[in-house]
Symmetry: C2
Subunit: 153 residues, 2 copies
């Protein structure tokens, strides 16, 4: 990590935000290729399906807060997934603004195929770490995320 705060030159390749971005892009693009090649699903679409696998029958808004997908993007992604019959949607009885979304049977079967692939990929990634390092890294990520959140204006 860079240490000299008053340096007059920025070493981009050691600058934390840059490094995180590069790392994240690399890690995500590898899975993205898998999802895309085998299932023609984007990362965004997969995230929606993933949340629905975990929490069936939630609203678009709940998906949005859980995945941090912006609501216009979510709306269009949901349309695509509906068109491809990977998810189903109906109006909520109690509040007709809301709708309730869930994986369709097809969607569930795709989900069931992707989940193990995802875990396998994560496992392959983490193979470069010892058990202890995994735990450390995980904790540090959480810690930094919390902190970054608190820096928000």
């Amino acid at each position: 990590m860079s240490t000299d705060t008053n340096a007059s030159i920025l070493k981009l390749e050691r600058f934390l935000p840059y490094r995180l971005s590069i790392l994240s892009n690399k890690v995500s693009s590898l899975v993205a290729d898998i999802y895309k090649d085998k299932f023609a699903i984007s990362i965004t679409e997969w995230r929606i399906m993933a949340v629905l696998g975990e929490y069936p029958d939630i609203s678009a808004d709940e998906i949005s807060t859980k995945t941090q997908i912006e609501k216009s993007i979510l709306s269009r992604s949901v349309s695509r997934l509906l068109k491809r019959k990977l998810i189903e949607r109906e109006l909520a009885e109690d509040d007709r603004r809301r709708s309730v979304i869930r994986l369709s049977a097809t969607g569930k079967s795709v989900y069931d195929e992707i989940v193990p692939l995802s875990y396998e990929y994560e496992r392959a990634l983490l193979q470069c770490f010892s058990q202890q390092e995994q735990a450390q890294f995980s904790a540090l990520i959480d810690q930094l995320y919390e902190h970054a959140n608190s820096l928000q204006v």
Copy 2:
């Protein structure tokens, strides 16, 4: 970190690629706002300027490999920076396909303003870590990046 590779449900919020993506977005969007508000410069543009601050008189192609910015995006960003007179460009004498890019005087003064802000931001981010944790986190990022790179098809 998720441990059970055979789980039938994916916990998205504990899935490493997702967590890295969220963290990176958060961390980058905070700096992006600073660059944008104070200097009307995007992250991409800043990265280009940052590399030029470190390595003056390099070609677009060299910038591309150093920043991992795709060359079409780079080309357009360079145009914008030229138009705003933040950088200068001339043809390389030895190879007239290449051009040689550097910060202009204005660009350098903007650079000189942004660098301390960036370091300050990084410092603020890292305040949630002890010295030891910083070193660990940094090492783990490098380690994971190397490994992810090696998983490439």
